[in-house]
Amino acid sequence: MKRRDFLAAGALSAVSLACRRKPEFPFPGEIIGPDLPLGHWLRGGTFPEPEHFEPVSALVIGGGAAGLSAAWRLAGGGLDDFRVLELEREPGGTSRSDRNHVSAFPWAAHYLPVPDRGNHAVLRLLDECGVLHGFDAKGDPVFAEEATVRAPEERIFAFGQWWEGLYLRAGASPEDERQYHAFFREVDQWAAFRDAKGRPAFSIPRSRCSDAPEAVALDGLSFAAWLDARGFSSPRLRWLLDYACRDDYGSRLDTTSAWAGLFYFAARKQGPGEDSRPLLTWPEGNGFLINHLRRACGDRLRCGVMATAIHEAKDGLMVTAWDAVNQVRVGWKAQRVIFAGPQHVAKHVVEGLAAARPAAARIRNAPWMVANLTLRARPKEPTFPLAWDNVLRDSEALGYVAATHQSLQDYGPTVWTWYRPFAGPDCDLERTRLRSLDWPTCARMVMDDLRVAHPDLEGLVARLDVMRWGHAMVRPAPGLLWDPAFRALADPFGRIHFAHTELSGLALFEEAQDHGLRAAEEVLAASGRRGQSWR
């Protein structure tokens, strides 16, 4: 037996050696950041004091959607004397994007539901970007046609072919249909809910949501438990809702709070009984918004700079940082700091924060893998044609978005952005797993997933690049979102203010922006610049 095992093992390794000689895929690619070594250096490193501390009124640490929104608000409020420090080489965080010879494309967040008339901050931003065209007779905003997701918006691959839409109607039983409609009636009821102060139960950003007990009670149970209690057992319906949880939260039905599960649907309703709000998108995804905010920020943005420590001094906050571009230690003396990074970084940078705020330890971030496939030509599409969002039903991944859809290019090369959340229950375990994947393994995962729907894809791929997001999105686990200790994480810590989408427990551009504006308005108020809120 032993001898046979040995021989078998020998044969196997010979085979694997032979296989290794030739690359598995006929196309190149690489794993693109985020810059893990730089970030993780923070945990153990010690940093000597810099020689010079540049005085500024405000320092924003983090150049994602929250940090850039804070900067936008500071500049808009007349506080020009600030800097934004971004750890990565490019700003944007999970709204980052890039561009190649074929198209611009997103690296993560890629759309925004059309804001309602009460979402002043997003309307202001879209107006500046030239996307808001005015208001209709009813007072509702009107948006540029070219920024609204072009039809067909979604298709789903099941039973060996593509179908229009995300909910699979083909083969649905009458009971499936009944439950589908019953669920959306419940959503409508919640969309119609108003508390004593006239606030809705669900609205974007969540700071506009009611804290009425009957709404908040939804946060106490999982979405799965809520569905079970109402007899929603239809596999198709549960697939759709689970997909929504994976897509927006990186979690599953049983690890998502029912409040968050309903938020996804009810907050996007135009009104009870009406359709969901249309989506706004761009070839580069939310990178479009980031690029605008970045321009507004100008040369006050410093990329490749990692804040390493913040100390209270008598007349300000002493911030030390490592400038990875110039390989020098740098320092700022800031009147106020807006920490626009995640809490798991804040605890290493802000002295005494971890001990003062143990609730931060409850935050869990789902890891994600995102791949961008540059195709030199498009695969054959004998069934429902290529849509913006292309979802495979029987997959752990979420499918792909075609970057050229919104730029109207219906022929020739394209870029597909493929998304896969690591939605297992233990985020740390999932993160370790994600970090262990090398490029060939990632490429195999992507191709194995897509080959089912596109058998001819491999020969069309010109390049496949992968981003491994260790902390892509906060998970709205049951009981987190309305926990007072969690919500208090957004409160200032001395002269340090916090802004991050994580503080909402919902990873959305609007939440990041809302926290950025709140933190900036706190800073403006502290510096005597009180004015009309943009929120």
Binding site: E145, E146, R150, A151, P152, P385, S407, Q409, D410
Partner: protein, 511 residues
Amino acid sequence: MGEPGPEAPPSTLKAPLLFISVLLIASCGLIYELVAGTLSSYLLGDSVTQFSTVIGVYLSAMGLGSYLSKFLQRGLARRFVDLELAVALVGGFSAPILFQAFAHTHAFRVVLYGVVMAVGTLVGLEIPILMRILKDQVRFKDLIAGVLTLDYVGALFASLLFPLLFMPKLGLVRTSLLFGLLNAAVGLWSTYLLVSQLGPTRLIRLRCLAIMALLAVGLVFAGRFTLVLEEEVFADEIVYAKDSAYQRIVLTRGRGSFQLFLNGNLQFSSADEYRYHEALVHPAFALRPEARRVLICGGGDGLAVREVLKHPSVQEIVLVDLDPAMTDMARQQPMVRQLNGASLDDPRVKVVNADAMVWLQETTGPPFDIALVDFPDPNTYALGKLYTSRFYRLLQRRLADDAMVAVQSTSPLMARESFWCIAATMEAAGLKVHPYHLAVPSFGVWGFALASKRDFGIPTHVLPGLRHLSDEATAAMFAFPRDMDRVPTEVNRLDNQVLVHLYAREWRRWS
């Protein structure tokens, strides 16, 4: 089976049967000539030249074959059977080879005359060799009289049956394959008639059967998957077919006209396209007679350009068509080129091969005085986007303030909601719109929308000397009878593409 010795002469009884072979091979030979002549005049146009040159090359090749026959000395019976099989292969597959050569190579004429030459030479060998086989059985004067009589009679059969029976019923490809099969059958039959001169026949017969099988497979698959199937779909002979990167382009010919199909949808018939293109082009010019810069979106067939060039004020025409295969065909395919008057080669015409909407979005330039929008009907999302409010807004950015726009907008009778949806969408994009319609027999009642950024009155005077449009006919196009009158519709936007759904629903009723 009795085995006569190799030296034994064939029984004189078989001579009449061999004369029947003459009849058959004469028919086959003429059929190949007719197939090549017809095919080349379809594909290249100018049928007098094509028939003359094909006949000339064919007859001279037959002369060459007859001359070469003297170099064949021994084993004439065996040579004859081989010859029949060679003719069966080259002649039988001549039509599919020529169609493929036309669709996929740039050297069609080389292939054409090569095939005609080869078939002619082989056919030229047949009769002399057969006569030499028969010379010992039949007196010379009877031999000459019999062979030539049957040769000419066979030619008569072929020349009558080809246009009356084979072309209409089978089409070119299957006719040539069928006669190839007949040639191979003559070969097989000859192995029985000439058995005494052949020696062992098993291998020869196997070869005959193999070639017959090949031709039979060709016949079956011709119907299964190449042009002939489409001929059934299109009801007419296919004379040009090409799969470009964007679409399948097919030209058919029949009933005194020819037609262009894109992805199986009729784009024009040469019989009545003048009605369509006059209506597309001249009403806009009637209101901007001094137009200098003209934009044409779609219209890669060059027919709209032909009409535009009738206006001497025009200095520049920019034609934006997605498919270079389409504009190349409009320049090179003789029938189309003749129909469009070689319009795309006019020095005033600039052809841009691009998606018109992407082109409008990504380029800038001096404003146009007239824009003619001539896309295929909105039966896919990729076409539907070219009928959205966004498209008409992008278009307006490239127009002079007093520019006129004409948009082909499907049938107001058969797709009434679709037609009015296009008009409503143009209005939503800020254009003033006057829809109009006329009868184009191969399409039915067809509609257009005339539009401008400013208010305008309907045209009353058109260019004189047109084939269809007169001043009265022009004014009449703008009146809508009740069954085509305006119906309320949604606006076709990029984010709803309602027109694609409307259009599919309305046309489904008629198919």
